[in-house]
Symmetry: C2
DNA sequence: GGCTAACGTGAGCCCTGCTCATGTTTCAGG
DNA sequence: CCTGAAACATGAGCAGGGCTCACGTTAGCC
């Protein structure tokens, strides 16, 4: 991570260029040379900030995650939704909104497929996300924040991620029916689990 | 697709080598040069059978799909399981078995992530799989094979795929608790849906 | 045997990820 | 203001990957 001011700007520019390019050419088509060219940063500088191509994409994923958690935390605090389905609504809707508005979010969200352990070196990505989400929601639901609950959140997160990916594969704006189905899956599962 | 005998053998050897290598070096680390070397086939010949690297992996995914559908169809016919949860059991268990025994299955199953439309050019992979699974199960359940049901199968498939991927990320033999959770998700969702 | 189409081959082209030797800038402590 | 060291900047070039293509070999029909 850079500490000086110009470096920090370049760092952000590189992430922005990376996100844009992911939307244009996809994960496999992304080249570090083109990212550097877009950001108007020499290739050597890119490699001063990021260990390698995966590190670059991982940093983008981390930025996405922080942004997502911030937005969800804000809305949960403000709206204090009721019960599981309220939290599911907020979380899914916020994910959908980001998917529609944040460049590259559809390709890497919190970590590109196949490529893991980029957010926390010892955890796989969605586990890291689940951990953060769990501490966010446990207080709201009053649910015991135990091992059972942890598993439930992890499973729910995997399902949500995959069904929403499907929703956006069908329709670039996100197929409404499938977004509704996503919530249905989560509600059915999480409600059944509480017995 | 090759037609002569020696070619057909080489074709299979290439897929086998590809599957092995995927387990060893992962999706990103797979090189066509190494696949060809392993299969003792010149690199030019590989490109006579497969349009490119993705075509090679796509062919492996197609072979996996046929194998999976064959196994599931066999077991469903033989055991005639009761209700939704019976079918879920058989299907998930068969997937888990293949995941444990078929080389490369954990990496590509029916199509590597991010990379789509390799089984059917117009459909995304899991939609193609869902279509095949649907015609397999519709007769058994007596369920109307309608649009509603199609959506349900697609959603269920995405969830199953992602939760099982998680189960095998946690434990190379497949975490038993998460495999159970996978069935739970599917049962909760599919039962709730029938109302 | 002759002929054509299918199959077989691997040196090498082009492009990519990444490095590294060499400079330049920043800034704390004097 | 000076000075030194640490942080930052740079881009030619290397290693290695995907894929091609011009040229050889075989299969199988007449």
């Amino acid at each position: 991570m850079p500490v000086q001011k110009r470096s920090a700007e370049r760092f952000e520019r590189l992430l922005d260029a990376c996100a844009e390019l992911l939307d244009e050419v996809g994960y496999a088509g992304l080249t570090t040379k083109e990212v550097a060219r877009r950001a108007e940063v020499p290739i050597g500088t890119l490699y001063q900030f990021f260990s390698d191509r995966e590190g670059l994409i991982g940093a983008l994923a981390a930025r996405n995650l922080e942004s997502f958690l911030g937005r969800v935390a804000d809305r949960l605090e403000r709206e204090e939704p009721e019960g599981i389905s309220g939290i599911v609504d907020v979380t899914v809707d916020e994910f959908v909104t980001m998917r529609r508005t944040i460049a590259g979010f559809g390709v890497v969200d919190f970590g590109a497929a196949g490529q893991d352990h980029i957010l926390e070196p010892t955890l796989d990505n969605n586990t890291a996300v689940a951990g953060r989400l769990r501490s966010l929601t446990a207080s709201l639901t009053g649910t015991q924040d135990n091992a059972e609950f942890e598993v439930a959140v992890r499973v729910a997160l995997e399902c949500a991620d995959s069904v929403l990916k499907l929703a956006f594969r069908i329709d670039p704006q996100g197929d409404a029916q499938l977004i509704a189905e996503c919530k249905r899956v989560l509600n059915s599962y999480l409600n059944d689990r509480r017995r």
